[in-house]
């Protein structure tokens, strides 16, 4: 194996890095625009730039690290994040009705952000074991347990958006590992039942009947089918209890999504203002620093979760399309890396990371453009937030590290 022939781009996926950098830069512009006339947040763009500097150092280090460290840190980091998630419930700082920050001296970190990454590592480790049988209900259940344990803790904060992302991680990694349709059904059905329960009893009954029909169709052991149906049933009725854990503003957001007209001035207000911002941007946008929705703060905290509205309003269809295209290209490139890598562990890690990015993208953008309920979750690389930016860069570094180290095997 000679290294002489390799060119730089064979060792480093420059386009992907540039896309992430471009998104960060757009994010800085949008953060500046959204915060320049605020009292407490007007220097956020500087903080974000500093965070990016830190993130870049970490990025370089992680890309350069020997590849094997990933397997080594998987279990310890998972254990650490679980501890962090428990700690945050006791010493966490409440922001916007949620307890998701831990303050370590001058640093504030969100354990839930790290939990996503460490869960990916642990799931990849578990699923890539020789003895793991993906069609074995026991192994699927262990996978579910590993994936849902952090979710349980995060729901107590509560952070609805992150919980959805975990669900996506599980689904994507199981799928990538080659879970059977029945296994997929086993994983998916409780979630679908739970969501349908939010829409009312009629929907719940329809979905339950549907799941029963599918169970009969799969022709599995009657005991297994029965217990899966029981899980679905309890998920449906359990959703009420979960719903009660949610903070009032999250309940309202879900209620607004289920029935958008239920509260036009309350939770629906943010969604409407977001759509007005993006829609009024038109083709060319209103120009940098000229969006009145943005400059007059019609959308709350838009340097974080609603950052896309700033781009949509001030840079128009052109700007927002560029953002969407950048993400899609980045996702495809990451997916290609996953396909290139022949080692199952690394491939699964990349798919896990991709599912985190895609999950955030779907929920955040879907919320901004009014396709999904208002659920607080940052847009990767673009939204203001140090923890999130550093973690996204770290994960990108992992992807590029694998790209650098394992292209040899292609």
């Amino acid at each position: 194996m000679s290294r002489v022939n390799y060119r730089f781009q064979d060792k480093f996926d420059l386009p992907t890095f540039l896309i992430a950098t471009a998104l960060t830069f757009l994010g800085l512009l949008a953060i500046y625009s959204a915060t320049r006339s605020t009292v407490a947040e007007h220097s956020n763009y500087i903080k974000q730039a500093i965070s990016w500097g830190v993130a870049f150092v970490i990025f370089v280090v992680v890309v350069a690290l020997p590849i094997r460290w990933l397997r080594v840190v998987a279990w310890p980091s998972y254990a650490l994040t679980l501890i962090g998630l428990v700690l945050v419930l006791f010493i966490g700082k409440v922001t916007g009705g949620q307890k998701c920050w831990i303050h370590l001296g001058p640093l504030s970190v969100q354990p839930s952000e790290f939990a996503k990454f460490s869960t990916v590592l642990v799931l990849a480790t578990f699923l890539s074991r020789h003895q793991t049988d993906i069609d074995n209900m026991k192994d699927i259940s262990v996978t579910l347990l590993l994936g849902m344990l952090p979710v349980g803790l995060i729901m107590l904060e509560p952070d609805l958006g992150s919980s959805f992302v975990f669900f996506g991680i599980l689904l994507a990694m199981l799928y990538w590992r080659g879970v059977s349709s029945f296994g997929l059904f086993f994983v998916l059905s409780p979630g679908v039942v739970a969501i349908s329960a939010l829409f009312g009893t009629t929907y719940l009954i329809i979905v339950l009947v549907l799941s029963a029909v599918l169970l009969i169709f799969f022709r599995k052991d009657i005991f297994l089918s029965g217990s899966i149906f029981a899980v679905n049933l309890s998920a449906g009725f359990f959703v009420d209890n979960v719903y009660n854990i949610l903070s009032p503003h999250q309940k309202k957001r879900i209620a607004t999504f289920v029935d958008p007209d239920s509260d036009p001035l309350g939770a629906g207000y943010n969604s409407l203002q977001a759509r007005i911002a993006i829609g009024s941007g038109g083709f060319w946008g209103k120009g940098f620093l000229s969006g009145n929705q943005t400059q007059l703060h019609f959308i709350p905290a838009q340097w974080t979760d609603f950052i896309f509205c700033v781009i949509g309003e001030e840079f128009g269809f052109i700007g927002s399309s560029v953002v969407v295209v950048l993400y899609i290209v980045m996702f495809i490139r990451i997916l290609k890396v996953a396909l290139m890598v022949k080692d199952e562990f690394y491939s699964l890690v990349i798919i896990g990371i991709l599912s985190i990015y895609v999950g955030h993208f779907i929920i955040n953008l879907g919320m901004a453009i009014g396709l999904l309920p208002v659920i607080g979750i940052p847009l990767p690389f673009v939204s203001y937030g140090g923890t999130s930016l550093i973690l996204n860069m770290l994960m990108l570094a992992v992807v590029l590290n694998i790209y650098r180290s394992l292209r040899d095997f292609s």
Partner: protein
């Protein structure tokens, strides 16, 4: 390497999912930003641009000598911005404003659902001391401020409440009729304020401001130019402040009215009605108790007696009978009729004395009833009515303040309606001396007297004569001319009679003066409900009349006793331009106690 179990199509499926995701979100953006762009753009503009009305200054009133009668004066209103206000200061603020405890709390409670950046008015019309206090202690009173709003200011000495009228918050019905107004706007409710509303109100301006999500004003909106408001037109009244002041002063404590008119133009020089009310109470916000008190007062202070109180004109009507007879050739200057002290028509009608053979001039001078009892039969009802109409009697004068009574000049049809086809001719006897069904308002009486003074030519009576434009240039309003078509000779005859009423041996010699020649006619309106009403009409100076006055004092008896001296004082105030009256009234101290 262990091959993993994902089959080929599964990988392709992930690829497709990502592409479909991009397509769905891209299409949604296309829908929002291209297809529905204009709709959201409009919403965005509505969100942030708010037009703020700039209420123009209302036009002010000047008198005929350009003395300011009604002006705009600033009033202070204390306001709080809930978002910045500290509720621990409630009782302090209530004390300063002089409002009852709990006012601020309930004000905040009531407006809870509105933006916390919209200021709330705690108290209007606070005194300057309170404003000064707020100013000095602003650091301890966050969110407390005051604004200056305009209200009407009146002279201390002149308050023609019934003529000026007042403004009031616009009613829902008025809002429907005219889209110029917005809820909460003030609109002229009566008097000049109402009649000239369109002239006085000016044109509203608009200031476009950009507000943020909490309706807080951020800055001016540069894309739309502010539209400045246009001040209302200033009105010039026919009023003379001195005459008006005197009229109001003389009526104080009495029930009655004074109307003074310029004979050559029809301009109202003074118009007062008593009892009256305090316009200051209506200038911004009227206390309910005050309104209640005005409505329940038996003397009806809100009732404008000058234009609304129609009473029998008494002997002042004799002049009209005389003119009719002279014009129709029924009598001439030297025709004499016999007065034996009473007149019998079915029953006996009395005179003040036995005047013997008396001509028309003397009959007016002495107010001889018997002369006119006989005359009315010679004229006949229809001819009298024709001449009454030439003077505008029995119908509204059309004066430019809203409320007015028409009075009554009976006709044949009228009597037939009341008394039947064979109505008793005896009724005419009373009509000849201005009693019975006939009635005139003080305004009609003044107008009638003015026409006599100016030999039958004048203009429709009016309070406002013109306006000042922005450059303070005066523009007169046009008014309809009146011409009675009665001959100069007739006027000369009756005016000589009216001259003698004051300066001869007549019924109002108590107001005779050596410096200014007055002429007039007294009257007493028989009042079936109580004491008779005292009436006087007169003009001066006799050779070149500048002012004609009608005075009504209710329940006061003979015209000469109460009404004539008031008329004299008003005319003097006008003719001497408010200078203190020199010399004394050279008078027969006890004029004939006749009407």
């Amino acid at each position: 390497m262990k091959a993993f179990s994902g089959e080929g199509y599964r990988r392709t499926f992930v690829y497709f999912i990502i592409m479909i995701l991009g397509a769905v979100y891209g299409l949604r953006l296309f829908q929002l930003q291209i297809v529905q762009h204009s709709e959201y753009d409009e919403k965005s503009a509505e969100n942030s641009v708010k037009p703020i009305e700039d209420i123009p200054l209302r036009g002010v009133f000047y008198d005929r000598n350009m003395k300011l009668l009604v002006e705009n004066t600033p009033t202070y209103t204390i306001r709080i911005v809930p978002a910045e206000y500290d509720t621990t200061k409630n009782s302090l603020l209530e004390q300063i404003c002089g409002v009852p405890e709990g006012t601020v709390r309930s004000l905040l409670q009531k407006n809870k659902q509105f933006s916390r950046f919209v200021p709330l008015k705690v108290k209007r019309g606070v005194d300057f001391k309170a404003v000064g206090w707020v100013e000095e202690n602003s650091s301890q009173l966050p969110g407390v401020s005051y604004i200056i709003e305009m209200q009407r200011g009146y002279l201390d000495s002149v308050m023609a409440s019934h003529v000026y009228g007042y403004t009031k918050e616009i009613s829902p019905k008025q809002l429907e009729d005219d889209d110029y107004y917005a809820p909460g706007d003030l609109i002229g409710y009566n008097g000049i304020e109402r009649k000239y509303e369109q002239v006085l109100r000016g044109v509203k301006g608009y200031k476009y401001v950009v507000v943020d999500a909490r309706r807080r004003e951020v800055h001016n909106f540069k894309q739309l130019k502010n539209i400045p408001s246009v001040k209302g037109e200033d009105l010039v009244l026919g009023f003379d402040a001195n005459a008006q002041k005197t009229a109001e002063k003389e009526l104080r404590g009495k029930i009655g009215a004074v109307v003074a008119i310029e004979p050559s133009t029809g301009e109202i020089i003074a118009m007062a009605s008593s009892p009256t009310y305090d316009l200051n109470e209506f200038s911004y916000f009227t206390p309910k108790e005050y309104i209640q008190q005005l409505y329940t007062d038996p003397a009806k202070p809100l009732f404008n007696r000058a234009t609304m109180a129609a009473h029998p004109p008494g002997s002042t009507f004799k002049v009209l009978c005389a003119m009719t007879a002279l014009e129709e050739g029924v009598i001439n200057e030297s025709t004499t009729l016999h007065c034996g002290g009473s007149f019998t028509f079915g029953r006996s009608f009395k005179c003040h004395g036995a005047h013997g053979a008396i001509n028309v001039v003397s009959a007016i001078e002495h107010s001889c009833n018997v002369f006119f009892y006989q005359l009315i039969f010679k004229i006949g009802l229809d001819r009298l009515k024709t001449y009454a109409e030439k003077f505008g009697l029995g119908k509204k004068t059309g004066i430019d303040i809203m409320e007015e009574a028409r009075g009554l000049i009976p006709s044949t049809q009228y009597y037939e309606k009341i008394y039947g086809k064979n109505w008793p001719q005896g009724i005419l006897v009373s009509l000849g001396i201005g009693q019975g069904e006939v009635s005139l308002t003080p305004l009609q009486l003044a107008s009638y007297c003015g026409l006599i003074a100016n030999n039958g030519k004048s203009y429709k009576p009016h309070v406002v004569k013109g306006y000042l434009d922005e450059k303070k240039q005066y523009h007169p309003f046009p008014f309809e001319p009146i011409n009675t078509g009665i001959s100069q000779k007739t006027f000369d005859i009756v005016k000589r009679g009216m001259f003698l009423v004051v300066n001869g041996g007549g019924t109002a010699t108590n107001i005779k003066r050596s410096d200014i020649m007055f002429a007039g006619k007294t009257g007493t309106a028989q009042n079936p409900h109580g004491k008779d009403h005292s009436i006087f009409m007169g003009f001066a100076p006799f050779d070149n009349p500048k002012i004609a006055v009608a005075v009504l004092v209710e329940n006061a008896g003979f015209g000469a006793t109460w009404a004539a001296p008031i008329a004299q004082k008003v005319m003097l105030a006008y003719l001497l331009k408010g200078q203190p009256v020199q010399g004394v009234t050279v008078a027969n101290p006890a004029p004939n106690q006749e009407d």
